[in-house]
Symmetry: C2
Subunit: 313 residues, 2 copies
């Protein structure tokens, strides 16, 4: 099978990190496209009514309903267990991201309303994805994030739909060995910092997943290390969790590791485990050595030096 | 002027920490009621459609529109600057907390929708509160939290309304010396953990403020240390930021310091600065000494031992 992978550097440091990940991809496959790799895009700095972020539009357009974000601290000794080892499985199509917003004028000033949509269908499919990922991990635990003490109907539906997944007839008992936990979103963030080891797979509605994955990134040293894939049933798009970082754009110091790991994650999702392992091992080795590191990790290296380090055996 | 303060222990460890704070209050004033002190309340563990948390109802009923949550790390040496010193000013009446939720059956399963309300009026009044608090602090900086790259209309309105506060005619230039910053909520949480010193006063819509204040609590060692007041124009209600902690309820080991500090914060809000200072100094001294500490802080003390320690000079 030949793979076709589109590259979407977009803007900001996306233009700097995607070429880096491209080299990693080309090293493991001959380029030919069934997936895409997205860089990052700057948000408008002033209010633009009706603005839609290109990444949000792509997720929706391609029905990439799962945003999978593994957050792992690379241990100094490869034989050791990582102190942080979790996967955030973020629902990627609904919640406040449906972008149904209205504004009206009243005698007391303007009033704006946004719709938060949670469907049983989307909650179940993201739940299935989370259980499937948990099944492939040693701890086999899924933690559902919600705020049903306030949003009893929407988050109540999310929580209940995910909980129902193991009992679905088509699932046929497959997830019976997976343990289900839950956490209210505010306390989830608190505990993430105090006891990150309580988490294995986290499944969350869109906005909570967005916040939790950035919070988790803080635990492993830098957003510049955390990869993601946006996955649907037919297409997958790799995307570093970091943004376009306008403050460092053009300086050649963006950390390319999140983009490179996103390429690996994408390959893994497509079944190319060997290629993914090769990339991941090279990245972990560079992190472990610590000799070559960009400023976000406290180093002085440039993007291209990090890329070179991942390529030399 | 005589003060009347209601005590609402509610349930869970609320019943244990409020009596503790009551002693602190009684020590500084003769009891007689213009304010209230709320403990904590357990959320239902199963789905209860239409459930309204009593604290959410109280905030709305009494129009306590500002939830003020100072998060300060007590430095070992009282002459030193605290490494974390911020105030989260959380809008307390709208956002997803308006609890307008509906659910319908469709051929693809159930679909639930919640309304997120942001008004110019509420955003301006919470903005004013934030600027007023910033004015009384050495750094005089307000950071607006939003997600206007996705919620361009609702969060756009919040951001714009807060930004407009210093230019309001009735404000009359009073806030001209206050610096305005802003952060997208996901990146705000990330930076909170990496560089907490970038924050002074944070102003946020309800849910982001909820999450950010729990996140900030993780920075100072325990939720059991962080106080809050729910403030309106006519009434103020102290409330520890922690919940009812059913896991430790009845063990006598709940940290009473958040409740005691909430009492002090309430007094300060009512203009009783001397009483507030006395309580705060006693609490800071107990934390600094570290001899008496509940399990959340790594100690072995009981609630009453901590209360006693705050009372002995
Ligand atoms: C850029 C923004 C729209 C996006 C999101 O909120 O999903 C980003 O924060 C992310 O996590 O990929
Ligand atoms: C108990 C819950 C409704 C409440 C909230 O979300 O406001 C709590 O988390 C808080 O921060 O006071």
């Amino acid at each position: 099978k030949s793979l076709k992978i589109g590259l979407i550097p977009a803007d900001g440091i996306g233009k700097e990190v995607i070429p880096a990940a491209r080299e990693a991809l080309e090293a493991v496959l001959r380029e030919d496209c069934d997936a895409a790799l997205f860089g990052s895009v700057s948000s408008p700095s002033r209010k633009v009514t009706g603005y839609t972020s290109p990444i949000v539009a792509l997720r929706k357009e391609l029905d990439l309903y799962a945003n999978i974000r593994p957050v792992i601290a690379v241990p100094a000794n490869p034989a050791e267990k990582p102190s942080v080892d979790m996967v955030v499985v973020r629902e990627n199509t609904e919640c406040l991201y449906v972008k149904q917003e209205v504004i009206i004028n009243t005698e007391n000033g303007r009033e704006a309303r946004a719709t938060r949509l949670i469907t049983e269908r989307a909650s179940k499919r993201i739940g299935k994805m989370a259980f499937e990922i948990a099944l492939g991990r040693p701890r086999k635990q899924v933690t559902i994030i919600h705020k049903s003490n306030v949003l009893s109907i929407t988050d109540g539906l999310f929580r209940e739909s995910v909980r129902a997944v193991p009992k679905l007839p088509e699932v046929n008992g497959r997830y019976d060995g997976v343990k289900i936990e839950e956490q209210i979103v505010d306390s989830a963030v608190y505990r993430l910092f105090r006891e990150p080891q309580i988490y294995d797979v986290i499944v969350a509605p869109n906005l909570y997943g967005d916040i939790l994955s950035d919070a988790a990134a803080a635990l492993v040293g830098s957003l510049g290390l955390v990869p993601s894939v946006n996955a649907g049933d037919k297409f997958v798009m790799g995307e570093p969790v970091h943004g376009s970082a306008p403050d460092i754009e053009g300086k050649g110091i963006a950390n390319p590791l999140a983009a490179i790991r996103s390429a690996a994650l994408m390959l893994r999702h497509l079944g190319y485990d060997k290629g993914a392992d090769r990339i991941d091992n090279a990245v972990n080795e560079v992190i472990r050595e610590g000799r070559v590191a960009t400023p976000d990790l406290g180093g002085k290296s440039h993007t291209n030096e990090v890329v070179e380090a991942t390529q030399s055996p």
